[in-house]
Amino acid sequence: MLNLSLKKTILSKPLIWNTRVVQMLVFAIVFHLIYFLLGYSAFNDIRYLYNHDSDFEFISKIGLHLTAGLVLFIAVVIWLFHYLRNNPFKSFYPVNKNYLRKESLLVVFIFFFTITIYHSYEYGKLIKSRKVAKGIYDPKDIDVIRQAVCFLPYELELFERQNCCDSAIARSKRYKAIDPNYCGPGNTYQSNYEENDQVVTPEYAPEVTPLPQPTEDNYVKEYNYLYYCSNIEYFSIDNRKTLPVHSTAKRWLLGQHKDSIKQALKAYIKIANKYKIRHNLDADELTAMCFANNYKIESGLEDIYYDQEILPDNNSAEFRTLNNAPLRLLTLQKESFFTISMWEVYGYITLGLSVLLLSFRFTRFKPWIVSVLGSGVVFVAFAIIANMLIDEYDIVYFYLGFTVLCIIKAIQSIQSKKNKLHSGVWLNWSAFGLSGFIPIIMNLIYDNTGEIRRCINEYYVVVREESPIHDWIGSNWDLINAGNFTFLILYFFMLYIPLAYKWQANPSE
């Protein structure tokens, strides 16, 4: 079948035959399928979704990476061996610029389709994850978790006095909530331990009933349920940064509402069971602990990890894992084949390899090797210059200027049929340099359009206003990278190929 298609393409579609795109397509489809199936069968346990570790996978991830890498390497080497056999362009066969454009597209396609093989493994896992997680996530779960953790001191520092709602930190947060420009004492970035350790007066804790003044009996120096003032933030699910969960908790604690606390803990245990989170929690014991010795916490609960086979004590659980579980399942629902991360990395690898290969294909070995090795030399030179420069941005300007110079010199020297080696190197450098052109410019603009604030007399003063473009760049990096890919492809098609076409025909000196 494959031989027949090869025979047909050699007789009628020389570009298809010469680029070996059919063979590579068959190879890629087979391996995409294999890796998809491997991904799909990689795990059965839902706990894998919260604990990314090979313990839950049937296949060794390192082995899989190595195998994928090796398979890709061998496939690309074999492909290059065949693809580089015939170069009709260098042999002066009647090819036009469109032929070169089509060839470039096929090379990009082959690279992209080949290097994303591992992606199919991830996609297989995604499909399996959705199947395993189907019907588990409920938006109400997060409210239950938020409320219950007020009575689960697995993160003991959150039950410390210095983190309570009446602390300097809390005060600073409140001040900041009222006035974002506040940068006085208690500011997260300016705090020191001594200041934070002071219990501030109740007037700074407007949201809760003031704590009873510490006495020998009811005051525990380090930890207390009543100090809990934290909140689990689920930004992508629920952007409410502060919830009145701790005020409710304090109300229950101070009002001795044991049943309410017990119900909250039971709901938590139910969710833990639903998410298959390991625990040995006992709602009664935990409720009793809340009221023992005036809310005193002895040593906290143990947060266990997925790799701990035996649960150590009563009332230990995979607390943090459960905190992340709803968010993880929700993310899985939203994720699709095209939104799995790494696309931009694949994009840059594809374009980088394509530019490297096509620059070799469309020029000749000597200018290509000089431009590749020369790039290294230029990079080192840039690093040395950057070291000497005071302003870090100067090196960026230098890089941008150098890339523009390469383009100008390439056009100029090829049009005037000047030294073929030099013009070939300028041409290749222009393509290499443009690989990161737009993101670098955007980063430069981003850095120079952001707001600058200085802390003056306990309040931030805006020294420079933020430009709308700063905000746009900050939230559109995917678009910028996509724009960069488009720009690079357009440059390659509209300028590089016509110049290479001329360059190839130009006689040597």
């Binding site: 007789l11 009628s12 020389p14 010469n18 056999r85 009647p94 025909a505 130009n506 000196e509």
Partner: protein
């Protein structure tokens, strides 16, 4: 006017038809005279000239039916019918009187200053062959690279007829096929490479297969068609390169030492074949070739350029030799002593004698004649191993 134009067109058509018929008659004569191999090769050339796949197919059928047995091909009835059918058709012709390439005072010096090609001028028409001769390192390859536009000339002009029909230098270079002395390695089978070449020239499917089969039959490559680079000799690699070049239908073929890898019989055959194919009626082309095989090159060349230290010391058209020469020069190989040789030719105008690489080179004055020289040999019983008139041959420039 219209009548005149029609008459003129009809005349041209008739002229080319008769030229093509002459070629077919020539094929018939080769077969009649027992020159089967030559007849078969010329028959393939005629079939290729028709540019019709039906004729390609019939030609190939005849060759395959008789398993390359040349005498069987010649005696087959369908061969005669095939030739007769070809003779009846009209051929798309291309004039061979046009100048394909004109070079005026072209010179080239390398940057390190070690070597320079001094100003050189000549013209080449379609169907003509120019031979480049000279010792190693005297600029033959440089000149070929200049002609293929691979090197840039310092001064002078190179103009090609094809320039008017092309939009870019690249397009022009697609019509100038340069085969370097060291044939570049190819991969895959010989046949795949030929198919790919044809496909790149927009010749697809059946025509592609037929043309490739015909050209390998033409150059005697059929037994090797499925072999790769490592499994065929260097001589056949050269033939393959020629096959590939011919399929590209070049305007100008530039061959750097094409004979160096060929055996002595193949050298003459390939050169004669190239000369013949360059005069194709439908697609004539020019050839510039360099070689050390002086006599073989001279035989087929319309012009020979002798290069010494980059200087074209001598250039002439072989057809004009007799008009440009004055005194006779002979090359003689003999066991006789120098004195005996001098004594033999003293009476027929011998001016000087040089011993050059195992042979004597004899220079005679203007009044001497070949008849007198051979009479002297026969009367003196001089033991002659070999004698050759090199008066009009560039061989004399190799003499120290």
């Amino acid at each position: 006017m219209i009548i005149q134009n029609n008459t003129s067109a009809n005349f041209l058509l008739f002229a080319h038809m008769s030229e093509f018929r002459e070629k077919i008659d020539e094929v018939s004569n080769y077969f009649k005279n027992g020159d089967y191999s030559l007849g078969k090769r010329r028959m393939i050339d005629c079939a290729l000239d028709t540019a019709q796949t039906s004729f390609f197919k019939r030609c190939l059928d005849i060759i395959e039916q008789h398993n390359d047995n040349d005498s069987a091909i010649a005696s087959a009835q369908e061969t005669a019918q095939f030739l007769a059918d070809m003779a009846a058709i009209s051929i798309n012709n291309k004039s061979t009187s046009d100048t394909l390439m004109e070079i005026k005072n072209v010179s080239k010096a390398y940057a390190n200053g070690n070597f320079k090609i001094s100003p050189l001028s000549f013209q080449l028409r379609y169907g003509e062959v120019v031979g480049l001769v000279g010792e190693n390192g005297n600029g033959k390859t440089t000149l070929l690279r200049l002609l293929s536009r691979d090197l840039k000339e310092d001064e002078g002009t190179l103009s090609f007829k094809a320039e008017k029909e092309t939009n870019s230098l690249y397009e022009l270079r697609t019509r100038l096929v340069y085969i370097p002395q060291r044939v570049p390695k190819w991969y895959g089978s010989l046949m795949d490479n030929l198919h790919f070449t044809l496909s790149m020239y927009d010749i697809h499917n059946e025509e592609n297969v037929l043309r490739a089969e015909l050209i390998i039959a033409r150059l005697g490559l059929r037994p090797f068609k499925n072999l790769g680079w490592n499994r065929i000799s260097s001589g056949y690699r050269t033939r393959f390169e020629l096959a590939k070049a011919l399929l590209r239908q070049p305007e100008l073929m530039l061959l750097d030492e094409p004979l160096s890898n060929l055996d002595i019989i193949s050298q003459q055959t390939i050169l004669q074949d190239l000369k013949h194919m360059s005069g194709s009626i439908s697609r004539p082309f020019g050839i510039v070739l360099s070689s050390q095989q002086l006599y073989e090159v001279e035989k087929i060349s319309d012009m020979v350029i002798f290069l010494r230290q980059g200087v074209a010391q001598y250039q002439f058209k072989t057809t004009e030799q007799s008009e440009t020469t004055q005194s006779l020069i002979y090359e003689l190989e003999t066991d006789a002593t120098r004195e005996e040789v001098v004594n033999t030719f003293n009476n027929c105008g011998l001016e000087s004698i040089n011993f050059n690489g195992g042979v004597y080179v004899l220079h005679f004055n203007n009044s001497s004649s070949g008849k007198a020289i051979f009479a002297s040999i026969s009367s003196s019983d001089l033991p002659v191993r070999y004698i050759r008139n090199i008066t009009n041959s560039s061989r004399r420039f190799f003499i120290q």
